[in-house]
Symmetry: C2
Subunit: 132 residues, 2 copies
């Protein structure tokens, strides 16, 4: 099934722009990218698309669940007076953080570190939603 049909099926208008983005993204291989990465690629294949459109498109694809936005704790810099190694709970709505002591998490198995690199940190973030 081509991108046009998939978009229609998902309830989105099959605009030229969305088709271009879908054709780039869903080629079978997973990838991480920013809005600007995508714009560069679009330019590389001789097309043009405004950044606003790219943001709009990525947002609708994300809401549809066909891509994921990688979690970032907050869009503003957050500081912590606790300088010991620890993890965090994060309230998804407010961004509020609560410390988690390392002893409360057991990370008994970790993946092999890629060749040529060393581990320089490890963060666990448990996201919370208020019960309704």
């Amino acid at each position: 099934m081509n991108s046009k049909k998939k978009l229609r099926k998902a309830g989105l208008r099959a605009t030229k722009q969305r088709i271009v983005v879908a054709d780039i993204l869903f080629n079978g291989q997973h990838r991480h990218f920013t809005a600007e990465d995508l714009q560069s690629e679009i330019i590389k294949i001789g097309k043009h698309m405004s950044l606003a459109t790219i943001y709009n498109c990525l947002k609708s694809f994300r809401d549809l669940g066909v891509i994921k936005q990688v979690e970032s704790l907050s869009e503003t810099a957050v500081f912590d007076t606790n300088v010991e190694y620890h993890h965090h709970f994060m309230n998804e709505e407010t961004g509020e953080l609560i410390d988690i002591k390392p002893s409360e998490i057991n990370l008994s198995k970790l993946p092999k570190i890629p060749e040529g690199y060393s581990q320089s940190g490890l963060d666990v973030i448990i996201k919370l939603r208020k019960n309704s």
Copy 2:
């Protein structure tokens, strides 16, 4: 030891502004805060301090190691075509991400979720640095 002495000992000039910030931050209780949170508190106690100064001050305290900047993946939005639950390696210098399959991490013990909340997500980020 008061803030003035502590700053001097750390090799930082004991400016009025740094003393105010240190007095607010190092009162024995840990906390998470943004530059603006801090400015609001400073205004609340009848003082004034420019945001640039607050950023400068937090940066020097961070470099000194007396506060920590909570990790954020990247300052720009990153998207991922892999919508399955998974974790990430992150190259600290470039921000580049590599997927980690959940089966490669064993999280056998997790902390108790705070009263009134439910877990809505869990992310593990392993930071990498290139070997020298």
